[in-house]
Symmetry: C2
């Protein structure tokens, strides 16, 4: 089911970069479940007329420049929002449970997405593979090392923000020209548009959930879109 | 007031690595103040016979492999310990204040230690300088960019753990042989012993506060110790 929305020339690619969260393994679902539990836990302690989802999202958004992406920042936002929406009446055991949700997210097993090990094994022999992921250094490192996939990658970068400057620095570091680099990921905003701006290539593999922050309204750039990572070896001529 | 405890040969040094927290700027003091405030806030809600310091330290230590170093991990540990030591009775406004302490730490201005800009300006022309710091990616990056010191460094690394493996990877990346690298920092455990293990050099500049986790009982390795960073240019022949 490979649907290539455009047929940009990928024959000169030397390095394939992979996003991690929601490209190689499940991530957004765990945030989604945590939010649902937050709503359940806080609902009895919240006055009528408070939009719990809006309050949590606004807290997360306000904290993003301070705390960045990742589970620890998200957990602190849940705790902060709990105090605020309950007007200071949330019981301590609810706070304890919110911290526990964060710890479970930080220590939970990595759930690989379908086809991931086979796809990496298929393209690995013909391309240099790198992993470029945004988020918390400790948590991302734990996920990478426990995923069983680390040996496929010659280089792993945990970055603060996926912007053209960051990608440019990484491409210089791994010594590859932009036109010979292709990034594969689920976020048009983070994985595709910034690399296209550099003159590199992008392959978008949408995930069923996308964090609101990662959504882009519209774009004019052309890039390949695949229904599933399973189409990748064929796209790169290794399938 | 340069006191060189040994006179290891530093004449072949090409790259000087600097630690950041409590070497270039104040860090441990802010954790110390936060802890004091934690004790004040929790004391009225804690049964007699509970050792607040021991409880907080134990919580931090237990969370270290999960959450790593840094303010977000520390703040989550404060919140978790607050729920535990109060036996689930801590009021939400105290929780809100603990989260606020974390935010203040994350957004507070960088306080440079004495002599830092002059010392970097003195050694910068003759050596390649790199910054190697442990901790949270967002917070360390914010401190580096707002410190006004970033331009002195050809490379900045925020790492998960300062062990020989990590230092080895960085030295390969910046293409310098261990015997031509010298690390400067306040922690014998993190800045000195692992680089000496690699065959590189270390200059220890003690800070008046050392986090318990960074203490080492004893060591046999020989390295240079300076009372103040001000002695560095002279040590490297640039003073």
């Amino acid at each position: 089911m490979t649907r290539a929305s455009t047929a940009r020339d990928l024959t000169d690619i030397e390095v394939i970069g992979f996003d991690a969260d929601d490209t190689l393994w499940v991530s957004e679902d765990t945030f989604h479940s945590a939010e649902q539990r937050f709503f359940e836990l806080l609902e009895p302690h919240t006055p009528d007329g408070i939009d719990l989802r809006a309050a949590l999202t606004a807290t997360e958004r306000a904290n993003l420049p301070i705390s960045g992406y990742g589970v620890k920042a998200f957990t602190l936002s849940m705790v902060q929002a709990a105090v605020t929406v309950s007007d200071g009446r949330v019981p301590a055991d609810v706070i304890g449970e919110l911290v526990g949700i964060g710890h479970s997210m930080l220590t939970g097993p990595v759930q690989l997405l379908p086809h991931v090990p086979e796809v990496l094994a298929a393209v690995g022999p013909s391309y240099r593979l790198v992993l470029i992921t945004k988020g918390d250094l400790v948590h991302q490192t734990r996920k990478i090392t426990t995923s069983g996939l680390e040996h496929h990658f010659e280089h792993v970068e945990v970055v603060l923000e996926k912007d053209p400057e960051t990608y440019g620095r990484i491409l210089r570091h791994i010594d590859v020209a932009p036109e010979r680099f292709c990034m594969v990921g689920n976020s048009v905003r983070s994985d595709i548009l910034p690399v296209i701006e550099l003159g590199a290539h992008g392959v978008h593999v949408p995930y069923h959930l996308t964090w609101e922050h990662e959504l882009v309204e519209q774009h004019e750039e052309e890039f390949v879109e695949l229904d599933s990572l399973a189409g990748l070896p064929q796209l790169f001529g290794g399938g």
